[in-house]
Subunit: 593 residues, 2 copies
């Protein structure tokens, strides 16, 4: 099958050493176009099945078929339901004496064993059709059967998988993958990525280019994994993103490049630091004269602000323990205090802080935020960015809580996109606010209207960065890049005080006629999550790592004997307090809980 197909493919190409220097890309691409939706017959001699389980219909009645699949279900030793990647089909186990051996195989094989059956497609008796099952009008009258592989007792049933702990699901990932939901998610992902490719390659002439994953450390690349080489003391890095290569491809004239790329970020075990996007109301003025300590504190600082969101119908649907868990989330993950305020004064939450909000402030708040009677205000204070982050997160949490109680807040069929633009190019450094750091990365171009401010008021310069938000979740971002070497040098060396030597290859490339260029990167995992409604990106990745970066199935990362490290000229520096851990390395593995 492959060679026949390759032959057809190659035959359609221009002769390779003819070189055809005058052939233009446009005409070549037309010659390469394969007339696409035609079905090509299966020519694979290794395949025993004549059909897939899911494809049989009334139009197949009377056909002799051979099917292979897993035993999904068995009823009273009379019926089997057989499953493959395409769907389910009902199989009738023969009951007559002459077929005793076939019956024995089909009745004794454990669930999830793999069997091959041959037989005839017949209609189900009247009244026994199953309209909910695509193959529900037919069943298979089996003549012969073969047990291809038996299945040991499963740790739990496939259909119960999603109810199990994530650690267990990851440990037995190959079983979890058999579930309807994982099959659906991964196959949908594959088709979505294919549609993206067709759009970019076939409709817009983009070129798909793979860039290296063994590369050099980038400045500030503290989250890049290092890979020792066979040269003493020399290391590769796994790039966090192919952004440098993107730019070099543009310099190289590979206009309209795209790639479905892996990005390696060694996040360690830090919590999700991704701030969520949100709309907020600034209510600092209401509290200018507050006596509440943490509000006072916040407002006394230059970047300090008091922000709030209103949860409509919150007073009706949120319980006290919900509010407490929201406050705990804010405290644990954002180190932020959050205060609930109820429009009705008779709702008293025993919180000393709540009492300190005077009646006057309360009514001003209600007016400003247009709070309905059963609304709840969640209020926080602090540095602008942090206050926004925590409220954005709480807003999503509240929506989840209210929806779990039956409210319809978000239309799951609706995809609302939003572009976020006009980001600042620089931010004050967290550890030293007198210095600047890039808001995104140092290659982002300044907004053309603000270029004159670069030398005088760099903090006021907006960037040409843009983010794409889908239903409140950031799904992508990108920017127009700096193509002028002088400007890039000025920003790196003068404004950001970076060591430009580490980026000399990029600066040199810009000097050799880099065209103006820009791009965007979509977070595929998150996008597929939103489209499938999966609760976690781990549900749209075939073999995800656990929260702590472990592969719970194979137990990676794992220890290596010192002699395997020798070719790479490295040795382990055991921390002083890890001697116990070191000596336990050879003990059996316990997955994290």
């Amino acid at each position: 099958m492959f060679s026949c197909w390759l032959s057809r493919l190659c035959g359609g190409l221009s002769t390779p050493t003819g070189r055809v220097t005058h052939l233009i890309q446009g005409s070549l691409s037309r010659r390469l176009m394969l007339s696409s939706q035609r079905r090509i017959p299966e020519l694979n001699s290794f395949v025993a099945r004549t059909n897939t389980c899911g494809e049989l219909r009334s139009s197949h009645l009377g056909q002799e078929v051979t099917l292979c699949g897993w035993i999904q279900y068995r009823r009273q030793n009379i019926f089997l339901v057989l499953r493959d990647f395409h769907g389910l089909v009902q199989v009738v186990i023969p009951q007559d004496e002459s077929a005793a051996s076939v019956k024995k195989i089909l009745c004794e094989a454990p669930m999830e064993s793999v069997v091959q059956v041959s037989g005839t497609v017949i209609s189900r008796p009247p009244g026994q059709e199953n309209p909910k099952m695509p193959t529900g009008e037919i069943e298979i009258k089996v003549k012969s059967a073969q047990l291809l592989n038996t299945c040991k007792k499963l740790p739990f049933e496939i259909k119960d998988f999603v109810k199990k702990t994530e650690a267990l699901r990851l440990q037995y990932r190959y079983l979890d993958l058999r579930s309807f939901q994982m099959q659906y998610n991964l196959r949908l992902r594959s088709r979505m990525v294919m549609k993206m490719r067709e759009y970019l390659c076939n409709l817009h002439g983009f070129v798909d280019i793979e860039t290296p994953t063994l590369f050099k450390r980038t400045p500030g690349g503290a989250k890049e994994f290092v890979i020792p080489s066979r040269e003493p003391g020399k290391f590769y890095c796994l790039p966090q993103s192919p952004q440098q290569f993107k730019q070099l491809l543009m310099v190289g004239g590979l206009d309209r490049y795209f790639q479905v790329a892996r990005c390696y970020r060694d996040e360690g075990s830090r919590p999700d630091r991704q701030p969520e996007f949100t709309q907020i109301v600034d209510i600092s003025d209401v509290f200018r004269n507050t006596k509440v300590g943490f509000l006072q504190d916040a407002l006394s600082k230059p970047q300090g602000t008091v922000k709030a969101i209103c949860i409509s119908e919150g007073a009706k649907y949120l319980k006290r323990k919900d509010i407490e868990s929201l406050r705990k989330l804010a405290a644990d993950h954002f180190n932020q205090e959050v205060l609930p305020v109820f429009p009705k004064a008779n709702r008293n939450w025993n919180s000393p802080v709540a009492k300190s909000i005077m009646e006057e402030q309360r009514s001003e708040l209600i007016r400003l935020m247009e709070i309905q009677e059963d609304g709840v205000v969640l209020l926080t204070a602090g540095e602008h960015r942090k206050a926004c982050s925590v409220l954005g997160k709480l807003r999503l949490e509240c929506a989840d809580l209210l929806e779990a109680r039956g409210l319809v807040l978000r239309d799951p069929a609706l995809f609302s996109f939003l572009w976020v633009v006009d980001f600042p190019l620089f931010l004050p450094k967290e550890e030293n606010p007198g210095e600047l750091e890039s808001a995104h990365h140092p290659f982002t171009a300044p907004h053309p209207s603000d270029i004159h401010l670069l030398h005088t008021e760099p903090k006021q310069v907006r960037s040409q960065h843009y983010d794409l938000v889908l239903n409140g979740n950031e799904i992508g971002g990108g920017s127009i890049r700096i193509h002028d070497a002088e400007l890039q040098r000025y920003i790196l060396a003068t404004l950001l005080k970076e060591d430009v030597k580490l980026l000399s290859h990029l600066l040199q490339a810009l000097d050799f006629g880099a065209p103006p260029h820009g791009g965007i990167a979509l977070g595929l995992d998150r996008l597929i999550c939103l489209v499938t409604g999966a609760p976690s990106i781990r549900d749209v990745i075939a073999f995800p790592k656990s929260f702590r970066g472990h592969d719970l199935m194979s137990n990676a990362p794992d220890s290596l004997p010192p002699e395997e490290l020798k070719p790479y000229h490295i040795q382990v520096s055991w921390p002083a307090d890890s001697e116990a851990e070191k000596s336990s390395l050879n003990q059996p593995y316990h997955p994290e809980s």
Copy 2:
């Protein structure tokens, strides 16, 4: 553009949280089908150009256009040739006084600078059309021009690039990528991979799944890069191939899986160990009584053989120094002695060995190999596999030499495919011939007809491995895999004496109803090489590593300060003899020559 497209894509999908448990894959895939060949208008506000350089024809006459591109060529300050990814177009520099500033920009910009021009598409004067150029009937009468980026003096001209040393080309890869040949190779590669995806996904329902690149060391994975984690002494590995994941996906019911995968092989600096496929003639019997030392030696050993190939017209076209360089190649890369034999006795090569071949042996050789008068026989002796490898390589080298002298040996438009089957499942271990090792890998299934020999004569068992060869080059290989856990355990533990604990996750997966399965992997780099006629795989990869695994553009791998290794709990073990090297680490970088 992106959000509009995403919106369209998402709108066409089923509602994500509807979950639709009865929706079958087949109907979903039809709903996802995008009507494909329709052109979608460009809505990108960042793009200044109205057209690409390569697309303009007589049908565009009179149109006002804006083009962006690199200055490819300038003639007498009257014409410019502008280049973009789509092709070339001629631009007429205005000569009248009123357009002096436009003329200045276009005449003073160095070659390979990036300019934007606006003007009218006009026909070339009669007789000045260039039929070899797709845009050769028209030119652009420029009204305004803008210098988007200037280009410093290039280290050499773009069109001369392929003549430069590979090290220089790799160092300035972004310039090399602008050459016609690299653009052609990379764009063809992109289209070929797209065709493969369309064939697999759209015509055959394959599912594209990405498997992890941070994984656990596999037994015998001596060529896997190691990646230290933040847990002391624990390492990930970059997998040599996704073969374990392939199998786990099959166990997980993800039938019809494919992936365009990266394979990481840390080959160190070993020479190419890939034995080439070849046809040969065994002439051991002719030399049973030879007096030539190395032939005697070889034939005295159990696996010893004397093999030869005949180069037709070799005596006419190959020079003495060619023969010597072939012998040197055999000696350097294969440690094999090779002897040329000429049918005409009067051709005396002053070689003491050549003289030792007696007249009788010579004529027997001529008869056996059907040597024509101007043929040359290249003869070698030794272990079967090594003798075949060296002659296979020499055969291809000779073909290159003869073709360089004008002979037409291979039709470059012809793609000849060959399946190689019936490989042995095991080979004797090189270092200990009494023990067995897998000919390919331990997961390959035995040939069904030979299974009974596994317990008695394992060396006689053929495997279900298959290789695909295109024009004499191995472009892919694969196998039917073992799906039975007991058989896999027997082969691993009893026959191969491997530690099965390291593969416990795989053995466990086989126990839970693994279906019979197999696959194939194509070497994409080599395949694209053969199709484009590129001399090296480095000509079909955007950013290849050098022979020694270096990135000559960015200087990777590079040294890292010890504090950056600290989070990974490793330190460098400097070899005793490398103190000099260590101290020179901060010196300027010199690319390897």
